[in-house]
């Protein structure tokens, strides 16, 4: 099967800022994104857990974007600009996809 090499950007971000991030992604014209839940974690800001919280404050989400390598910097810079002001981390990894023209 023919496969195409792409980049996967994963943004772990505090939940209250999620809408800002997805609005930004909309403006950046990525072909899509996927939001996944996070139960908890630990980092420099201490321990987090989603349990029992009735509001978004104190919880995180993970937003992934699959994009072509040549679009990487274009997406990463504004995204990182937003994430820097918030609690969050950004990781980038390699993935292969099948319908390459879709990303």
């Amino acid at each position: 099967m023919e496969m195409h090499s792409k980049k996967r950007i994963e943004i772990l971000l505090e939940a209250p800022a999620q809408k800002r991030l997805t609005d930004l992604l909309d403006r950046l014209d990525v072909t899509g994104y996927t939001v996944m839940p996070v139960l908890g974690g630990k980092g420099h800001h201490g321990v987090w857990s989603r349990e029992g919280l009735p509001s978004a404050a104190g919880t995180m989400v993970s937003v992934s974007v699959i994009a072509a390598e040549e679009r990487l910097d274009q997406v990463l810079e504004p995204v990182f600009d937003l994430v820097r002001r918030h609690i969050g981390i950004v990781t980038i990894s390699d993935v292969m996809v099948i319908r390459g023209e879709r990303f």
Partner: protein, 326 residues
């Protein structure tokens, strides 16, 4: 009832005891937990129920100018309390301007669960209260955020502000907890007694029991916050979390008499002023002042002020209201 009796009776209520159970469970590191989805459902229920009941009350009593005046007073308080709070924090603690502004915002806004707990105490004393206080609660959520932003902007380097205040206020005003509270209030108002008779077996009868479950959850979250965030709180800050509600309460008490509130209404109005937000404002602060440390304001509001109000504050405010109003 003497203030001491009232305090004892309140401390021995299922509501306060379930909160204490939650705190204790978190402190002994039990894995007792309320799932996030369940906590959100319970919060939604409480806001729907309290909003609807307020509206149904107003439909019975009708509108009067007191409502408009009390709403105005609530807005004023919500705006002024953060200014006072900021002043006290900066004078008495080492918090920087941004953290101080973020903390202050929480105290200008309100805690709907504290309000709900106070309505139970008021009803337990056989007192009535003005239904429109729900509307007052709703309008008091937001002005404090504006005040805090103005405070913080003075301290921030120019141009770094990022978000416009308009965009932020739009987000805050369409906050889910405000929408359901205000929406249910209007639905209660429109449908009145007929609506109430249709849904009271859901929003009235099991209300206290569901409140117990929610307070258990709040206790778990507060206890976890205390375990993890206590080292962020200096003694002067903890003191602030206890004495400052009394400052806010005094301001509200001074307004309650000229506003002509009933005894029950005065108790609730004072409670609103004295309570600190831990749902709407923390989320708003993450957007408005992301540099502020959430461990400080969440732990102080939910781990110190909320339990203080729930256990000792509310009976005190009720006692004060009995002296000054009525």
């Amino acid at each position: 009832m003497s203030i001491l009796d009232l305090a004892v009776q309140n401390l021995a209520s299922p509501m306060v005891l379930f909160f204490a159970l939650g705190v204790a469970a978190a402190l002994i590191r039990s894995d007792l937990a309320v799932p996030e989805a369940a906590a959100k459902l319970l919060a939604l229920y409480l806001m729907l129920a309290i909003g609807f009941k307020g509206g149904a009350e107003v439909s019975k009593s009708g509108l009067d100018s007191a409502m408009a005046l009390t709403i105005g007073a609530g807005i004023l308080l919500s705006f002024l309390i953060p200014l006072a709070g900021y002043f006290f924090i900066r004078m008495s603690t080492r918090l920087g301007a941004i953290d101080a502004a973020a903390v202050a915002a929480h105290y200008g806004s309100i805690s709907i669960v504290t309000f709900v707990a106070a309505t139970e105490v008021v009803k337990g004393l056989g007192l009535a209260y003005e239904g429109y206080l729900i509307a007052v609660a709703a309008v008091m959520e937001t002005p404090a955020i504006v005040a805090a932003l103005l405070l913080a902007r003075r301290a921030q380097p120019k141009g770094q502000a990022g978000e416009s205040m308009g965009a932020l206020l739009r987000e805050v005003a369409t906050n889910g907890s405000i929408v359901i509270l205000v929406g249910a209030f209007f639905i209660g108002w429109i449908t009145g007694e007929r609506g109430m008779s249709m849904i009271s077996p859901f929003i009235v009868d099991p209300f206290r029991g569901i409140l117990c479950l929610f307070l258990l959850d709040m206790g778990l979250v507060a206890g976890r916050g205390l375990r993890q965030g206590a080292r962020e709180l200096s003694p002067p800050l903890i003191a602030f979390g206890i004495y400052f509600p009394l400052v806010s309460a005094s301001l509200a008490a001074a307004l309650a008499v000229p506003l002509g509130l009933s005894v029950g209404g005065a108790a609730l109005f004072i409670t609103l002023a004295a309570s600190a937000s831990y749902i709407a404002v923390p989320a708003a602060m993450r957007l408005a002042l992301p540099e502020a440390n959430p461990a400080i304001y969440l732990t102080l509001s939910l781990g110190v002020t909320f339990p203080f109000n729930l256990s000792l504050g509310i009976p005190l405010y009720a006692a004060v209201a009995q002296r000054i109003a009525g």
